[in-house]
Structure formats: structure tokens, C-alpha cells
Amino acid sequence: MSQPILNQYTPVKFSRIYSLGAARGDLTVTNDDIAGPIDSSDEWIRQRTGIITRKRASENLSLMDMAVSASQQAIKNAGIDASEIGAVLFSTITHPHQTPSAAALLADKIGANPAPAFDISAACAGYCYGIAQADALVRSGMAKYVLVVGGEKLSDFIDPTDRTISFLLGDGAGAAIVGPSDSPGISPTVWGSDGSHWDAVGMTASLLELRDGTATWPTLRQEGLTVFKWAVWEMVKVAKKALEVAGITADDLSALVTHQANIRIIDELAKQLAVPEHVVIARDIVYTGNTSAASVPLAMHALLESGEVKSGGLALEIGFGAGLAFGAQVVVLP
């Protein structure tokens, strides 16, 4: 008796981002609002970060609320039914439960139950990690449509007296639907990690230290200069590699959408990358702040909404942050 031949998934050739959705915190927080505890000023914060205001969520607006709102927009804009979603990937570092995942709850709330759902812990690189996995899931044939969400309520994990990162941070969620395509819409992803700098960005303490009373509520902090150096000069190499593997040059781009970490990083990265003048550089950080995993989709959504870039153009998106982790790919704008 011969052994039966197994079925395997039938791959599809290409994938693309169908749509985006966005939700930002409901509060507008000015530099003056937060300058006191860090003995700073509006001018100092603007000069060093580019931020004029940041969006933060009030007590009544949760991470899940923002993720649901962004996801529902993306699903509607894609013109699909939530029941067609074959996987839900939620990139976040601020879901307040170790388990179960935020993604499983999100899938249920938006009507994608029983889609497989899991969280991605790659901080500010999380959304680009999600797009990479969605691209693979769709092209392998494992899922027809994948919902990728980058969402954070970072204001739950900040220390108002911290001068390293807290004053940069905002809250929001960005969502994308990835699905099959007749033409290439997502380039190969250049991604990776460098755990030798595991301590460069992260939390002030572990949950075990909190339990044992040796630490107070853990909040975010970073070694700013080390991160700045890595985020510019190492990410330039990653960005160049992403263009190379996509088979394009910076001249072919419509937009550069980096993680909205700090305007100084964005500007220096663009300078080192020598992007031509016609390329629109996303600067959503100015009025949204740094929203970690949400920043890339929020920034891309803002560029499309404002008409600064058009659907069909090419954008280099690059996320980088705690881990250290990084991910970059070129996408066709939805």
C-alpha cells in the first residue's frame, strides 16, 4: 500500500496592504503640560525631539478600544468581512496582561473569532515584524487576509520625572489588512535583533521585582545616546539593504516612514540615507509623539489622509527599538 500524499497549503504569488486604520489618544498633551517634573521647557523639548504635542489616551480609553477602532476602519476600508480574516497579529508592549494575548480578545471584538491570534513583542519594530509575518502567511496560503495591529497605551508605563523617554511617548493604534495581490506589494523584509544591547531600552524593573517589593511600578527608560547612535547609523544600513532587496533605489520612493522615535533620528536617518527631495518624510511625531509599535502605521495613515502621498506609491517603512529589534520593508501604499 502506497503512502498517501499530504495536502499542503497552495501558495499565492504576491501580497499587498489593502488598507489602514488609525486611532489616537483622545487627549492632546503639550510640552508645557509635562515640562515641570523634568525641569524642562517647551523649547528644550521641541529642539531635542521635534514634538509639539503628543496624543495620550484618557483613563476611559484603553489600548483595546484604540485597537478595535483602528481595526474596524482598516476592515471597512479593505472592503472585506471580518470573518474572512485568517490571522490577527497584535504588536504591543503595553497590553497589561502577561496572558492571555491582546490579539485573541481583539479578534473576538471585531468579529474575526476564531481566527488564530497572537501578540508580537518587538516594541517599536513590532508593526514591521507583523507586516513581514502577514506577508508570509498570505503568500504561503495559510491565511487569505491578515489583520496587523500596532498599538500602545504607553502612558500607563511612564514616569513623569524620567528625562530619557517618557516625555516623548504617546498613545494610539494603527491597523493594516494584508491580503493576496496580482502584483508585488510587499518587498522582502530586512529584520533582526541585537540582544547584546538588551538593556538599552526597556523597563525600569521586572514584575518579579515589583512583586518582591524591591521595585516600584515598572516604567519605560532608555540609554538615549546609545539608542540614537544605533537608530541612525545601524538603521541606515538596514534601510539601504531593504531598498536593495526590494530591487529599487531611494529615487523610486514616494515616502520614507520610519518609526517616529524622535525628529532628530528621523532627520539624521533621512540625511544619511540621502533621500531625494521628492520623497515625503513622515513626521507624525510632531503632533502624535512616539507611539512605539503604532507609530509606523499611524504615520503612513496620516500621509495618505493628508494627500501628501498617493495610493500606489512606494514607501520604505522601518521600525526599530527595544530588543534591540528592527524590521524594514518597501510596500506599495494602500
Partner: protein, 81 residues
């Protein structure tokens, strides 16, 4: 061949000028990057990376905070060559 302190100073002044717009002649050995030249920590890191590239030296991140004056930087680079 290793550069002299004068040559390193001239090269460093060009880097500072490129990053901040400060005139090269204002970049003198006794000047403090922060207090006299008003260079913030992010610009300082950019200057350090460009100096590493230009002079072929390695300036560890933890060393940057010790580079208070232009002389500190010029001496470090000169000795590290």
C-alpha cells in the same frame, strides 16, 4: 600616518561646522561643547560618529560624556589613532 593635534582640531572643526553651523574658527581647544558652543547631546553623538569615520578611531559611547571640551575630544582622537 597619525595626524597632529592641530590637524585633528581642524578636521573636528569642520565636522562641528557641518553638524551645527558653528564657524570653524570658533571651535578652539579651550571651548566647552555644551557651555560655550551650545551643542546638545544628540548633536554631540552625531559629531562623535562622524569623527570616528573621519579619523578612523573608535570612541566608546561611555567615553562621550567625558569629552567636555574640544581639547578633550582632540586629545582622545589624537591618542586613539
Amino acid at each position: 600616518m597619525a595626524l597632529s593635534k592641530t590637524e585633528v582640531l581642524a578636521g573636528l572643526a569642520e565636522i562641528v561646522n557641518d553638524e551645527t553651523g558653528i564657524a570653524t574658527e570658533a571651535v578652539q581647544l579651550d571651548k566647552s561643547f555644551t557651555d560655550d558652543l551650545d551643542i546638545d547631546s544628540i548633536s554631540m553623538m552625531t559629531i562623535v560618529v562622524n569623527a570616528e569615520d573621519k579619523f578612523g578611531v573608535k570612541i566608546p559611547d561611555e567615553e562621550v560624556k567625558n569629552l567636555i571640551t574640544v581639547d578633550d575630544a582632540v586629545s582622545f582622537i589624537t591618542n586613539a589613532q
